[in-house]
Amino acid sequence: MRFVAFVKTATGAAIDAADALARAGRIGPGTLGPVDARAVEAAIRLREAFGGDVVAAAIAPPDVMGAVREAIAIGADRGMILADPLIDAADLVERGRVAAALLTHLGADIGIYGPWPGDVDGTILWSAAGAVLGWPVLPQARSLRIDEGEIVVSRQVQGGDIWLGTPPPCLIEITEGLPAARRASLKSRQTARSKPLQLLTLNDIACSPPTPSKAAFEGRRPAAGRAQPIVLADPEAAPAAVITFLRERGLVPCAS
């Protein structure tokens, strides 16, 4: 069975690629973030249960190579980067189609990805990918186990938790509720550095170029009427300032 763990796969480019990459890349493009590392860890655990191999895949510019190598050092069997300038302007649905094409090209049985925190963009992208593939999507997994050949995840919903199960193939969105990644040893890092990484383009995976988005985001301008926060940088003055703030807004009784 083949497990594909996505790392460094930016999403929100439909509005602002720079903003999307800033959010995804707070720790630098070459470093594997903790949520992406959890995705790799989840894939490794599934490999341990089912057998097969783990591919660490990035849909991103080639400068994420260090992150992919770190995923190999953790335990992925190999790594690849789908880097094609044609993807840069793609919207979320088209990115979902590209991700689906990559999973098909790789012969994946399960795709695993980690969101940016509270990431609506990612939800749309991966839902689109699931729809293109015809695969079930298991979102926001807080736990993950295998039960008689079925993937079972728990997800938090308003008012409780729900456990969902499906046999592969499927897409799994992991959260910080799942175990953190194991540490890579010095030796495994050295080994990872010596492994070749695949660099692919859309043409290599037989995916047509993304079509222009039918939703346009234009006319960026300051939001009107939005009050700037009052920022207090002096913690000593804060208690009295908070009480003044509450009183001025009628949230607590005025001083007598």
Binding site: I15, D16, D19, D91, V93, G96, R97, G118, V120, T123, I124, S127, A128, A129, G130, A131, G134, P136, V137, L138, P139, Q140, R142, V152, Q156, V157, Q158, G159, G160, D161, I162, W163, L164, G165, T166, T175, E176, G177, K214, A215, F217, E218, G219, R220, R221, A223, R226, P229, I230, V231, D234, P235, A238, P239, V242, F245, L246, R247, L251, V252
Partner: protein, 320 residues
């Protein structure tokens, strides 16, 4: 302009954002239809028609719609659209709305826009507003081809009673393929004391408190202010507080007069759960945390030093 508005209804009916979006869309479009997912909905639908003036409400009424699975929802929306094509599908804020829109965007080849807060018709062209950059800026959203898929993050506005007599019909849940099955469901026990949803003031702690013990400082402040005590999702995930204390889109959605966030960064799911708070005070040692850009009062500092002083000051002044 013909629009379909997709809304979710819990035991208490659709939330305020959904009602406001319905009323707005009903006033805007020549023809408006709502598709409501949930269970035991008929009475709710009668009420919604009266509140919003929507022309037609289709009720997808089944126990399976109490859960967050999208397969049957997508198939039902597909069936509705096959019978009655529309220019736009508007998704009221809900946990499943982005998943529905992403899936339909792929199957219909439609343009998806998300995070929207307002909607208008400009010379017959549908236009929405999306806040960006931590809400400091906005962009206009338009669609070049239909159907436009619009996912709302929030929608404010008052629905006024309507004399329009909309129709109500039941639509059968469509069968979906390749969907996960529900293995188990657990309801979180909700304590009747200090209910988050009813509280006038909520004081909540996040990962920034550092430990389960660190939450005691937040509890003390809540006690001093006569507030309900809450936490963010990472605190629940860390096992520091029970699930029924979680504030946020996947926990309890709140609308207090005052929300005090201690050591909470303010990621989008948390933000959606507190968006209806009248005032927000944030205490965080990271001046770059998202919440510090949209709180009304942002205090940069170590909450372990600050909270005891604030609690003492509130007790001393006796303002709770």
């Amino acid at each position: 302009m013909r629009v379909l508005i997709v809304i979710e209804s819990g035991p208490a009916g659709p939330d305020g954002d959904s009602i406001a979006l319905l009323a707005h869309a009903a006033a805007l479009a020549e023809e408006s239809m709502a598709l409501m997912f949930g269970s035991a909905l008929h009475e709710t639908a009668i009420e919604v028609v009266g509140q919003t003036g929507v022309g037609r409400i289709m009720i997808a009424d089944a126990a399976e719609f109490d859960g967050p699975l999208i397969g049957a929802r997508v198939a039902t929306i597909d069936a509705v659209l096959a019978r009655a094509p529309v220019d736009a599908v508007l998704f009221a804020p809900s946990l499943v709305a982005p998943e529905l829109a992403g899936t339909l965007g792929a199957t219909l080849g439609a343009g998806v826009a998300w995070g929207l807060t307002d909607l208008s018709l400009d010379a017959g062209v549908l236009k929405a507003i999306r806040p960006v950059n931590d809400d400091s800026e906005i962009v206009d959203v338009t669609w070049s081809d239909g159907p436009a898929l619009a996912v709302f993050r929030s929608f404010s506005g008052e629905a006024s009673p309507s004399s329009r007599r909309g129709t109500i019909e039941h639509v059968p849940p469509a069968t979906a393929r390749n969907v996960p099955r529900i293995v188990r469901q657990e309801r979180a026990e909700s304590s009747s004391q200090n209910r988050l949803e009813d509280a006038r003031i909520v004081v909540a702690g996040g990962r920034g408190v550092g430990s389960a013990e660190g939450l005691d400082l937040v509890r003390d402040l809540a006690g001093a202010m006569g507030a309900a005590f809450g936490v963010s999702l990472p605190v629940v995930d860390s096992g520091w507080a029970p699930r029924d204390r979680q504030v946020g889109q996947t926990g309890t959605v709140i609308a207090p007069d005052l929300y005090v966030a201690c050591g909470i960064s303010g990621q989008i799911q948390h933000r959606l759960g507190i968006a209806r708070s009248r005032y927000i005070v944030a205490i965080n040692n990271d001046p770059d945390a998202p919440i510090m850009r949209w709180a009304d009062l942002a205090i940069v500092g170590d909450l372990h030093a600050l909270l005891p002083k604030l609690t003492d000051e509130i007790r001393r002044t006796g303002i709770n």
